[in-house]
């Protein structure tokens, strides 16, 4: 017994022992954070109506059921189409705006530039409910020619996405540095030519990552969409989940959530892959870059 205690003492006192407790806490946390979602995915394949008692595997709620499955229910299909259209358009508008803003802010000096930089940062720190409320009130009272629903939702999504693009692109701009651009100018290129032939190609992967991340955050967004949505015709997938969860939904709702999860997973995987492209030959990993973005 005493030998055992002494061995435990030596083990506990060894600073380089494997951190068993920490490892356990971490793995329990990881399981806790992911398993509930996997169970929700599992129930989208339930053969019965319940979302809490497993009754066997079927594709009934994906497309088997003629009325209420994800594939056949017009309301669920509409929500998916709305989410995808909104995310696609947001991505196409916010990315060029953000790339321009990042380039401009990186080189432009002076008081207006500093004020613009501040204006770009504020949306990042504004709680969604504040942003949702202000956009709702402005469309309700001032920009009354823009109806609530899809148009207002698009404008709102672009507004919160622009700053993400700036953060991603600026990070890349700083790591590129000014040397190549100045070399091009020394060789006779105008700043515009240097931008087009040197800087923009180097920014390619960051621009692609921005597209994907904007797509994923737009699909993911609930608050801004909910505040600016007009009626059932403009509901996105998160709004649909929100309004149906506490009712008596079928596992088709789980199927809807799973389908959306697939969409964002693909977008994020592409973003990580493109970040990895510009990390080629450098130390560290793309996943770690991603973790450091803090967004």
């Amino acid at each position: 017994m005493r030998a055992l205690t002494r061995r435990f003492g030596a083990w506990a006192g060894d600073p380089w022992r494997p951190p068993v407790v920490l490892a356990m806490v971490t793995w329990v946390y990881v399981l806790w954070s992911i398993v509930p979602v996997l169970i929700a995915v599992q129930f989208s394949f339930n053969s019965g109506r319940s979302r809490s008692t497993w009754q066997g595997f079927s594709m009934r709620w994906w497309w088997g059921d003629e009325q209420r499955s994800l594939f056949h229910d017009p309301a669920l299909r509409q929500a998916m189409i709305n989410s995808l259209t909104l995310a696609g358009l947001t991505m196409l508008i916010a990315t060029p705006l953000g790339v321009g803003l990042a380039l401009g802010l990186a080189r432009w000096r002076g008081r207006t530039a500093r004020a613009s930089n501040l204006l770009m940062l504020v949306p990042l720190s504004t709680p969604e409910i504040v942003m949702g409320a202000m956009l709702f009130l402005v469309f309700d009272n001032l920009y009354t020619s823009i109806p609530l629903g899809r148009p207002a939702m698009l404008l709102g999504h672009v507004t919160f996405s622009v700053s993400y693009v700036v953060v991603i692109v600026r990070g890349r701009l700083l790591s590129i540095g000014r040397d190549l651009e100045e070399a091009a100018q020394d060789l006779g290129a105008t700043p515009m030519q240097a931008l087009r032939t040197v800087l923009l190609p180097l920014l390619g992967p960051a621009v692609f990552a921005s597209l994907m991340i904007v797509f994923a955050t737009s699909i993911d967004d609930f608050v801004i969409s909910a505040f600016l949505s007009a009626d059932a015709s403009s509901e996105t997938v998160p709004i649909k989940i929100y309004s149906n969860v506490r009712g008596s939904p079928t596992p088709a709702l789980n199927a809807l959530a799973t389908a959306m999860l697939l969409g964002t997973t693909v977008a994020i995987a592409l973003a990580v892959w493109s970040l990895r492209l510009f990390r080629r030959g450098e130390r560290g990993s793309a996943v770690e870059d991603f973790a450091r973005l803090d967004i």
């Binding site: 404008l155 609930f222 709702l253």
Partner: protein, 297 residues
Amino acid sequence: MPDRSASTRRLWPTLAAPGVVWLVLLFLVPFYAILAVAFGDLDPIFGNAVPIWNPLAWDFTLFTEIVERVFGGELGKVFIRTFVYVGTALTISFLIGYPVAYYVSRRAGPRRGLLLGLLLAPFWINYLMRMLAWVNLLQADGYVNDGAALLGLERANWLDGRSFTVIMGLVYGYVPFLILPLFAALDRIDQRVLEASRDLGMGPARTFWRVTLPMSRQGILAAGVITALPMTGDYYTADLLSGSPRTSMVGNQIEFYLFEGSQKNAGASLVLVLSVFLMVAMAYYMWSTDRATRELR
């Protein structure tokens, strides 16, 4: 020698202009709209909010009324409840998140990449789907109650308006956002500093308290702010996991006034009060994001 002609000087502002104009029209002006509605009037016949756009004509009576209801009135209870929920949820989140961030950043060894990927996974799983998952698990005949029954405990109705469920929901929802900044801060600490501390005779516990923890202070602050801001404005977690007025948070009140109650001026006033409470946190977040993006490699 870089070109200093007029067209060069105009290039960068021109590139930035569309984005700046967009943010002015769809961020600055909307913020002004909140002020105009909060300091506006009520229509004498219909009772709906009428914004006043001219700041010289602002009328503060309705706003003062709301502020009085926040300080001492029934809205004060909602604010206190919100801060208690957020404070408790944040504390629990740190107790879970710090050890996880510490292990993955410093001790995970070859499994580091895998674990980091798993820590990032909740980010692209929609928040509402993660809540939907818990609503399913917490049903009367759900897995949580099945597990409780196996242990001989009584089945409970978790979703009937319990503070416990809402706080656990907040923890579950926001822990991932807290772990990442902690991870980044702990990852930056130089291993040699920790070795030096040990060489100078400090044990693991004292090294942690006197070196690791102080060196991760900035990450702790950033993590707290990044998590507290959205948590304080959250309304959907309480709605989905309880739905009862007993667990109503500030966000629920704002949502109610803007949409169901259609007292938009009260909603706008509450948004303003909430923003004032969160101002310091927001300023800190902006400062640290700005610094972080400038330092990013």
